[in-house]
Every structure is written in structure tokens, then in C-alpha cells.
């Protein structure tokens, strides 16, 4: 026991006391959140003004669309955050300027000419509105055409589509002599407000939390990514440490002082302690940030005990696999080949998380959360959705995980023992299986 403890302490110090550790602890969230932040920053940034040529063959639409453009432009200049219906906050909003093109007939020549002008950046796009779009005959097939270099993804095209549809609809109603105001009133949208279940708070108040996309999607996803991160940040150093002991021939000295199981267990304990340190750092950092920003409500404190439990199991599971890999190879480069399948299993939750968040009690979600390599992240993902998960499931998840971890640690320790003394060429996979089976 004393030996295990000594090994654990050294392992912990070696893991936590390096610059690489500090660097990865700080870089990991930056990398992971980086993309989210970048996208939202881009969304909020205003892009350049855009000039659009409009060929309005109906002669009635241009004036209306011009009004819509003016509304849009003033909205961008003085954003009205309270008004959700005209929200450009989540788009790359650019001011638009229209230029009417008056022609009797639209020829391919004209289209070509305008296209070239777009290429020369004189215009951003041109819109071709055929004369018959306002007609309401049964075989109405006329389409408005929008030409630009980025039509497929263009926010401007989407905006035009919405605006033009409304304008065309209004004009059609006008032509049919229908009271526009009545139709508008009748087609008013009804919003559905998403709420959680009624709960009695500690002060005896009965209420239900408002569920928005933030807590419904990003919280579970964040919790799952966090789980992935703490496991990864622990498993990788474990592999490197075994590799060092092997390549520096320290393993021989160690095996002369402790048996492989003591060695492995000590290293695992040190790794778990290191991973809990990572968790602690992030938890404290997260709480401080939340307090600073007033998001304290968003931190799911009730998940912490579950998270820690599954984190410990996940770290033990993956760190032992990584150690077995480290013991089987002689270079980090070779380790990648063995780690590929491990990585793929580790990534499973990333492929299914969205459908699991929407239906955390679906067969897929429940099934995967009992697949040991995925259990830690799947269970916390499901628990973080806030939907009711039967208590027996996470408890059984723990049991499954403990059994799988014990098996993995046992097999890994055998590979570890045989691999540590193996020098020279990379062992064949069959050789490693032999170690696993026979020890």
C-alpha cells in the first residue's frame, strides 16, 4: 500500500507539475470554446454594405422592397434588442442598397452583363422578378431569381425570400380585394413558451423554470465535452509517463521495486488525482466566471457528485487502456495506431449527443449509456438534460463502469507487465492479445 501511495504521489506530481499540463489546462477550453466564441463574434460583427440590382418586371414590388430595405438598414444602425421579430443579431447583417434596372425584357445578355458587374464588385447580387409572380392563377410557376456569388448560403437571399413573399402575398390580397389588416391579424403567430416541470423551491414557491435553448442544448453538450476533456487531459499524460518509463528503462528499476499491479494502481490513482485537480480548477474557474457574469444559476451543481463519480471511473478506464498502449509501443508515434480505435470509441458521444439531448430516454441514449466506454460521458449528458432519468440507470451505469474498469485495469496490467520489458520492434497485435490472455 505504501508503495502504491508513493507511486501515486510521484505520478501526480509528474502530471500536474509540468508546463505542458498548465498549458493544456488553459488551452483546452480556449480551443473548445474558441470556435463557439469566434462564430458568435462573427455573427455580431457588421459586414460591409451591399448593392443589389433589382429588375422588377411587375412594376409594383420595387417600391415595397425599397421600404423593407430602409427598415432593415435603420434596424442595423440602431438595433432594437427588445424586438425579437426583427432580429439581425444572429445574422451577419449588412446594409443593403437597391438599384432598379428598368428593361422591357430580360435577356441572357443582360444577365451576363449584370453577372460580370457582380464579378467586378459593382453589385453584390441581382434579383429578377418576373411579371407574373403576383398573379394567382392555378398554374402559377413563376419564380423570382436571385443571382450572386454566394446564393446558396447568403443571408441576404434568405432575407429577400422572406420579404418578397410577404410583399407578393400582400399584393395578391390587395388584388383580390381582401382586407389586409384582417388577414394580418388572423395570421398572427402564437409562440410556445418552453417550461420545465413544476418544482417546489426551498422557500416553498412552486414554479417551473423557463427552458431555453441554452440550458436545453448547450448545457448538456458542455457537460459532455467537459467530461471528455478531463478524461483526455488525464489519459494522455498517463500514456506519456508509461512511455517514458519504458524508453528510459526506468520500468526495470520500478519492477524491481514494485509489482506491475502496484505500479499500475499507483499510477492510476495519481492520474485520477490529477484529473480531479483539473476538474477542481475548472469548477472554481467556472464559478468565478459565472459569478462575474451573473450566470450562477446556469451551473448545474446537482450534477457535480455524478460527474465526479463518472469522471473517476472514466479516467480509470481510459488511463488504464492508454497505459497498456504506452507499454506496448516504444514511441509516441506508434501509439497513435493503437489509439485510433480507442479514440473512435471515445468520440461516440460526439456523434450522437444531439439526438440524445432531444430524447435522453430513447433506446439509443439508454443503450449507449450502458456501453462502458461511453457510459461516463453519456450518463452525464443525459443527466444534464434535466429530464427525468430513472435513478436506477445512473446507478447501474456506475456498476457497469466499475466492472468494466476492473476488467480493463486487470487486462491492461498484464499487457503493461509484459510490454514494459519488451524492447525493439513494435509487438504484433497477436502478441499483445497473448499478453492480455496469459499475462
Amino acid at each position: 500500500m505504501q508503495k502504491i501511495w508513493a507511486i501515486a504521489v510521484r505520478e501526480y506530481r509528474a502530471m500536474v507539475g509540468t508546463k505542458a499540463f498548465l498549458l493544456s489546462v488553459t488551452m483546452m477550453p480556449i480551443l473548445m470554446l474558441g470556435s463557439v466564441v469566434t462564430v458568435s463574434m462573427l455573427k455580431n460583427s457588421r459586414s460591409e454594405d451591399r448593392k443589389i440590382a433589382v429588375i422588377d418586371q411587375t412594376g409594383r414590388i420595387y417600391a415595397e422592397i425599397q421600404k423593407a430595405v430602409e427598415r432593415r438598414n435603420s434596424e442595423i444602425e440602431t438595433p432594437n434588442t427588445n424586438d425579437k421579430t426583427e432580429d439581425f443579431g444572429d445574422t451577419m447583417a449588412s446594409k443593403l442598397f437597391l438599384e432598379p434596372i428598368a428593361v422591357d425584357e430580360v435577356t441572357d445578355e443582360l444577365r451576363m452583363q449584370l453577372s460580370n458587374q457582380i464579378r467586378e464588385k459593382q453589385f453584390y447580387a441581382f434579383v429578377e422578378i418576373p411579371p407574373e409572380v403576383i398573379e394567382t392563377t392555378a398554374n402559377q410557376t413563376a419564380k423570382i431569381k436571385y443571382y450572386s456569388e454566394d446564393s446558396g448560403l447568403s443571408e441576404v437571399r434568405a432575407w429577400f425570400e422572406e420579404q418578397l413573399n410577404e410583399i407578393v402575398r400582400n399584393l395578391r390580397l390587395l388584388d383580390a380585394d381582401i382586407d389586409l389588416a384582417k388577414v394580418t391579424a388572423a395570421s398572427q403567430r402564437v409562440d410556445i413558451r418552453g417550461l420545465g416541470l413544476m418544482e417546489k423551491s426551498s422557500s416553498g414557491e412552486v414554479s417551473a423554470d423557463e427552458k431555453d435553448a441554452m440550458s436545453a442544448i448547450f448545457l448538456p453538450m458542455g457537460v459532455m465535452m467537459f467530461m471528455f476533456m478531463v478524461i483526455f487531459l488525464a489519459a494522455q499524460p498517463a500514456l506519456e509517463s508509461v512511455l517514458e518509463e519504458k524508453s528510459q528503462r526506468i520500468a526495470e528499476v520500478l519492477l524491481g521495486s514494485a509489482n506491475p499491479f502496484q505500479l499500475m494502481l499507483g499510477k492510476l490513482l495519481g492520474t485520477v488525482a490529477g484529473s480531479l485537480t483539473v476538474f477542481g480548477i475548472y469548477l472554481i474557474g467556472g464559478v468565478l466566471l459565472a459569478q462575474n457574469r451573473g450566470w450562477t444559476d446556469l451551473i448545474p451543481f446537482h450534477l457535480v457528485p455524478w460527474f465526479i463519480t463518472f469522471q473517476i471511473l472514466g479516467v480509470m478506464f481510459y488511463a488504464s487502456v492508454f497505459m497498456a498502449v504506452g507499454a506496448s509501443v516504444t514511441q509516441l508515434k506508434e501509439a497513435q495506431a493503437f489509439l485510433l480505435p480507442v479514440w473512435m470509441v471515445m468520440m461516440i458521444p460526439f456523434f450522437v449527443w444531439f439526438s440524445v439531448v432531444r430524447e435522453p430516454n430513447s433506446t439509443l441514449a439508454v443503450g449507449l449509456s450502458f456501453f462502458p466506454p461511453a457510459t461516463p460521458s453519456m450518463m452525464v449528458l443525459r443527466l444534464a438534460t434535466g429530464q427525468s432519468i430513472p435513478l436506477w440507470q445512473p446507478l447501474l451505469g456506475i456498476v457497469v463502469c466499475v466492472l468494466a474498469t476492473l476488467t480493463t485495469v486487470f487486462i491492461s496490467a498484464r499487457i503493461f507487465r509484459a510490454g514494459l520489458l519488451w524492447q525493439g520492434n513494435m509487438p504484433k497485435l497477436s502478441e499483445i492479445f497473448r499478453w492480455a490472455l496469459r499475462g
Binding site: A6, L255, A258, Q262
Partner: protein, 308 residues
């Protein structure tokens, strides 16, 4: 074996790796409190034997009894080990590393022992240095301290002198002799025959997995009688004398050296020489361990000890 305690006893020990037999039915007795020299060419089963003694490897058949225990599955705290290749954490500091290895051997308060050893080997100023800043010789000394710091009853030293300059070699040499005098059993594996001959009470040679030599230098000399004759002729004859029954003859400086075959006695050679010229010097030279090693291990079909 009454009256004599053995630190290590190997009985009929065989170890195979796949189809290759690394150690073949080995018998070994290492007396307590002695320096026991392990010699043998590379790949002859030396390291495998050492690893079995250390319980890093388990024999396929036979028993390995170390310090009285046959089933010592766990690494024994009474054993110290210095591996052939440096096995030190590069990023640890010397003191921390030694304290760690001492702790792994069950020594809790290791500070006095560490400081004493660092001083003994003139390395106390290195205590706070990181291992990767040490020279090869320094690292070797640290590795040695790591092996002995927990006061083991038995230490296994695999090439302890490699990379050491003569001064450091001498201090390590003295340290090992001192350990022996304090009652520690030392197993010393080396390729340096001179050191083995000088330091070891008993020499054990393994070749192709089998024991080919085992005993004191005296008993080995009895086993390998002098077949080396060094003479000096009075007239400093330009021509080499004609002698029957010799393997080789060579002029070395002012001496002429013969290696005689087993069938002929040195007296016979002396008689033949005396008939040809007058002798001023006639000496029977004992074969050195080096000579014996080469004699056994050279790739020669009639060489002794070949396992067939």
C-alpha cells in the same frame, strides 16, 4: 550446503522466450556476504538470470530462491538493483528521485542515507539538479545510490562501472567492497574481466544459457591450468626455437610466448628448449579471466561449453 548460507539459490531453472531457450537448467549458489561476478557474452542469458533473481521474470521451470524465499512474487525490499541501462526520470531532481526509489523500497526517512551516499560519492552538490543535466558518469553514480540507498541485503549491479572515469570508478569500486565488508551480498555483472578478477570472490560464467564457470578464481585456475609459457633465451636468438606439441608461438618484446596443447607438459617444453639453447627465463603464466572467457566464448567448434 550445511554451514554456508546462500543469498541466492537457483535450482534447475529454465526460461524460454518463444522457441529460444535463454536459460537452460541453471544451478546457482551465491554465498551470503560475497561479491559474485556474473560474466558471459551478450545474449548468453545473463540479464534473464538477473531478472529472474529480481522477480521481474518468472522461470518456466525450476526454483529461484532469493534470501530464503522461493515465491517472492512481489519485488523484495531487501534487494537493490542497478540496471545496465540508466533508468532515471529525466525531469526529476536528484534528491527527489532518490527519495522516491528509497520509498519504493520501503525506506521512509531516507534523507540521512541519501545525503550520506551523495557525500560518499562526492555528489552532494547535485542534490537539487535535474537528472537531465547530469553527465553520464554522474547519472551512473546516482543510479548506483538509488540501488543501495535502502540498505539492501542483496544488490544486483549490472555493469556498474560503464561510463565512469578512473577516479569515479575507484570510488565506486571502494564503495562496493565496503558494502560487501558490511555483509551485503553483491551480484556484479560485467564485461570487464579485469574488474571481475580483481573484485569478485566467485566468478560465474553463463554461455548460451548454461553455466560454464562457477567458482573462486583459484578453482577456475585449477580448472584451466596454465598453458601459457613465457621464455627468454640467453643469446636472444634471431630464430624461433622448434618445439613440438604447441598451439602457437610468438615473439613478444624480448620474450617468446608459447601456448602449449593439453597433451604436452610444460616440463617437456622446457626439455625441448634446453636442448636447443640456454634459457635465462622460464615462466608458466596463469591464464587471465579474459583468456578463459575468450577461450570459452570464441566462435570455435572445439571450444568448451558449447551447448549442442
Amino acid at each position: 550446503m550445511a554451514g554456508m548460507a546462500h543469498a541466492i539459490e537457483l535450482d534447475d531453472v529454465t526460461k524460454r522466450f518463444g522457441t529460444q531457450t535463454a536459460v537452460d537448467r541453471l544451478e546457482l549458489r551465491v554465498p551470503e556476504g560475497s561479491i559474485y561476478g556474473f560474466i558471459g557474452p551478450n545474449g548468453s542469458g545473463k540479464t534473464t538470470t538477473l531478472r529472474m533473481i529480481l522477480r521481474i521474470l518468472q522461470p518456466d521451470t525450476g526454483t529461484v530462491r532469493v534470501l530464503g524465499q522461493i515465491f517472492g512474487a512481489t519485488a523484495d525490499n531487501r534487494l537493490g538493483y542497478l540496471p545496465e541501462e540508466r533508468g532515471l526520470y529525466k525531469r526529476m531532481r536528484v534528491y527527489d528521485l532518490l527519495a522516491y526509489f528509497a520509498r519504493l523500497k520501503g525506506l521512509r526517512n531516507s534523507r540521512p542515507a541519501i545525503m550520506q551516499w551523495l557525500e560518499r560519492l562526492d555528489a552532494q552538490q547535485w542534490a537539487r539538479k535535474r537528472i537531465d543535466t547530469l553527465s553520464k558518469g554522474m547519472a551512473q553514480k546516482i543510479q548506483f545510490i538509488a540501488a543501495v540507498v535502502a540498505k539492501p541485503q542483496l544488490i544486483v549491479l549490472d555493469e556498474p562501472f560503464s561510463g565512469l572515469d578512473p577516479v569515479n570508478l575507484e570510488s565506486l569500486h571502494d564503495a562496493i567492497l565496503e558494502l560487501r565488508n558490511q555483509g551485503t551480498t553483491v551480484v556484479l555483472s560485467t564485461h570487464d574481466m579485469d574488474i571481475a578478477e580483481r573484485m569478485c570472490d566467485t566468478i560465474f560464467m553463463i554461455f548460451k544459457g548454461q553455466k560454464v564457470l562457477d567458482g573462486s578464481m583459484d578453482s577456475i585456475h585449477r580448472q584451466y591450468p596454465a598453458n601459457h609459457i613465457r621464455v627468454r633465451l640467453a643469446d636472444g636468438a634471431a630464430e624461433l626455437p622448434q618445439v613440438d606439441g604447441i598451439h602457437s608461438i610468438a615473439r613478444i618484446g624480448r620474450f617468446i610466448e608459447f601456448i602449449i596443447s593439453d597433451e604436452i607438459s610444460s616440463q617437456n617444453v622446457l626439455r625441448q628448449l634446453a636442448e636447443q639453447s640456454s634459457l635465462t627465463h622460464f615462466e608458466l603464466v596463469k591464464p587471465s579471466l579474459h583468456d578463459i572467457f575468450i577461450h570459452i566464448a570464441r566462435p570455435n567448434p572445439d571450444s568448451q561449453g558449447t551447448a549442442t
